[in-house]
């Protein structure tokens, strides 16, 4: 998307205006955030029709809850993407059997790790910094740990789904995720 990027403060102001019922501000929020949110929803849900329906749900929620954004939730865009991700997780929980059937048997996390270069110019500076930091810390994880964290993030797998998908015992998968998180926590500091 080739659109001018707004600083976080401006997006935060737009959310505040939306909370007061300002539909024009809300439209700007939609214009700025929807392409990012849809990217995540398509990635997680695999189907454009579900993703667009989920996107509509998200913006209903954002309209209702735009007053609950606060800076401790991260950048406004991070907060918005979190709303989208939880919506996708809910839908995956409800629809997972269909999705697993629809899914191509490729190696999803490999794709996840190679998608970054084209998208990076689209990130705001603060987000780019956060990404560099997270990816720097991800480097320290073993391949299994990194893969299981990324699988969980992008595919929304539960421990048991991931165990089935990777044909690996549940206990092993759980400890990959936990060790991965532990190392990220040590590396990132504040989580």
């Amino acid at each position: 998307m080739n659109r001018p990027e707004l600083p976080d403060q401006e997006l935060a102001d737009l959310l505040a205006a939306s909370a007061r019922g300002d539909q024009a501000a809300f439209a700007r929020v939609y214009a700025l955030a929807s392409p990012h949110l849809l990217a995540l929803l398509v990635r997680m849900l695999k189907r454009m029709d579900w993703a667009e329906e989920a996107l509509q749900d998200c913006f209903m929620r954002i309209w209702r809850h735009s007053d609950s954004y606060a800076p401790d939730r991260g950048s406004p865009m991070a907060w918005l993407s979190t709303i989208a991700r939880y919506r996708a997780l809910d839908l995956l929980r409800a629809r997972r059997p269909e999705i697993i059937e629809a899914e191509a048997p490729d190696d999803a996390p490999a794709a996840a790790e190679h998608e970054d270069e084209t998208a990076r110019p689209d990130l705001r500076a603060a987000e780019h910094e956060g990404l560099v930091r997270l990816e720097g810390c991800m480097e320290r994880l073993s391949a299994d740990e990194r893969r299981s964290v990324l699988l969980a993030y992008y595919e929304g797998y539960t421990h048991s789904e991931m165990a089935a998908r990777l044909a690996t015992p549940l206990g092993t998968v759980k400890s990959w995720v936990r060790r991965g998180l532990q190392q990220l926590r040590d590396c990132l500091g504040s989580a």
Binding site: S34, L38, E52, Q56, R185
Partner: protein, 233 residues
């Protein structure tokens, strides 16, 4: 639960790997520190979402959002209707490609009017008018029973320079003015001209006119975009 254990639980919650029961427990927990850890992981991981190549939603999605939140009112807490799915098939018709940025180059005649479908006992008819330069479509909602039209716009970049954007209904191949678009970002509701019949499938179009709109009763400037009216329940 020690700090490490709490942070790992928060991380698993944010990743979504917990089973339903464990997830519910976290949801129900009234633990500010756990909540803070969850927010911390949300912040850290959000960059993974934002690094994906963006995907632009079709205008019909925004139209669905606008429809669901209503004009000027805060929405009820019920879920939006499922009519969006029905619209998927119509979405191509609703998506238009020309914007203000292109109008100067555009000298083609107005698009041929679509065959007007059978009139439907309509609650409302809606259309998304795509204005790509703005990134978000304007929407038009018509309630024939109340003789009312609502326009949602996001404003145009340089209101002073551009003249006025005028909305037309193409009825029996002839354009009938439905009034001017506001230049600022607003929602306005107006009465419709009397004696018009509206039906799903009808074409509406936007032309660029001198300030105050066309004086001839027909578009005099370039048609910059058009859209199809869709049934909205």
């Amino acid at each position: 639960m020690d700090a490490r254990e709490r942070s790992l639980l928060a991380g698993e919650y944010v990743l979504g790997t917990l089973d339903a029961a464990a997830r519910r427990e976290v949801d129900a927990a009234n633990d500010p520190e756990l909540r803070r850890d969850i927010h911390g992981w949300e912040r850290h991981f959000a960059v993974l979402a934002l690094k994906l190549p963006t995907v632009a939603p079709r205008p019909v999605v925004w139209l669905g959002v606008m429809h669901a939140i209503g004009a000027g009112a805060r929405p009820a807490t019920t879920r939006p209707p499922r009519w969006l799915q029905t619209w998927a098939a119509l979405a191509t018709a609703a998506s238009l490609v020309l914007g203000f940025g292109l109008y100067r180059e555009l000298r083609a005649p107005p698009p041929a009017p679509m065959v007007v479908a059978e009139p439907v006992a309509a609650a409302s008819l809606v259309a998304a008018i795509d204005v790509p330069k703005l990134g978000v479509p304007w929407t038009v909602a018509i309630v024939p029973a109340r003789n009312e039209i609502t326009l949602h716009t996001t404003g145009i970049a340089d209101p002073a320079k551009e003249g006025d954007a005028e909305l037309w209904l193409i009825a029996d191949g002839k354009p009938v003015s439905l009034g001017l678009f506001p230049k600022e970002a607003v929602s306005v509701r107006r009465a419709l001209p009397s004696g018009l019949t509206f039906a799903a499938g009808a074409t509406i179009a936007v032309s660029l006119e001198p300030k105050g709109g066309s004086q001839t009763g027909a578009p005099t400037g370039p048609v910059i975009t058009s859209a199809t009216l869709l049934q909205a329940g």
